[in-house]
Symmetry: C2
Subunit: 190 residues, 2 copies
């Protein structure tokens, strides 16, 4: 039996990303975001939504650039804090002992300690409601070499990523491997 | 040491959702999508990107409505198939023995067998490149009653959801609980 929960943002697991920007004074800043995901293969693009009230929102509008920093579960506490505190009040890089590195291709900092980084140039800004969605073109992906397997393919098992569950507002690790995409469903094609 | 992987859609874990639509003849259809996520809290909205070449793309444009069906890991093979086969060629509902149910609030079918369903009305259409992003307002969330805990809060552990890893093109279960959001990071606020 299904129960109706009404108009709610209860969508199961979402990724948790940290968005990196420089503020007006050139100070590196970060915030956590879970309204986020891939949105196009060619050009490769991600979408991340921020409330207009956030300090990072204005930085993206100004600089037309941001990084996506994908945290390992070791940093779940720091990531959570980056979604609680505002860059208006705190230097989150310094407070969390993260090292800001200037991106190679865009004007935005990334977190050296994180395993997977996307350098993004702003492509579209969509005003939806409480949140503004920023679509960014991925100009470069940077991954820790230790995470790469054969043919430089990123191995999910080694990132030790985690996801967020809206509603319950809880974090879970990405767990066991269950199969190869565009492959395990082929049994139904017979 | 970080290795540059260039302009690629390597973003770590993404959700895997099934999009439900009616085609021009009123036949229920589904397809899997991983370029997807939440994008606004108020109104509650999701974004899902489809290639123009897909059969479902036209159905969303025509009907301005779709469902999001969130699969349990039990259905990872069926979900994978729903991303391989086209509704142009196959009645995927019949082939996968899924039961199509007409949504209450929008003109789109959902999969009775799936644990979590979102009924969405199309709000924005953004042409990005290979993919078109559809932003839909969630008009209703339907969850299996057995998944709900206290205060009707959806319990992630019980959905047994899985995620997709682009690049490696692999599926992983959502795994162990690691903490409460907007809470475990507060130790840094002291």
């Amino acid at each position: 039996m299904k129960k109706s929960l009404g108009a709610n943002i209860i969508v199961g697991a979402t990724p948790v990303w940290i968005v990196g920007t420089y503020d007006n004074a050139g100070k590196p800043n970060i915030m956590a975001a879970a309204w986020a995901g891939a949105c196009c293969s060619e050009p490769p693009c991600v979408a991340v939504s921020l409330r207009k009230a956030t300090y990072s929102h204005n930085s993206i509008v100004q600089n037309k650039a941001f990084t996506i920093n994908i945290p390992a579960a070791d940093y779940v506490r720091e990531t959570d804090y980056a979604g609680i505190a505002s860059g208006k009040d705190v230097d989150k890089f310094a407070h969390l002992k993260f090292t800001p590195i200037k991106s190679d291709l865009v004007y935005a900092p990334y977190i050296q300690e994180f395993p997977l980084i996307l350098e993004c140039r702003l492509l579209h800004t969509i005003e939806i409601g409480l949140h503004t969605q920023f679509i960014g073109v991925i100009l470069d992906v940077k991954a820790e070499e230790s995470l790469l397997g054969e043919k430089q393919i990123l191995q999910m098992e080694k990132i030790d990523q985690f996801v967020f569950c809206p509603g319950a507002r809880t974090y879970y690790k990405v767990g066991d491997y269950i199969g190869k995409a565009f492959s395990i469903g082929r049994e139904f094609a017979k």
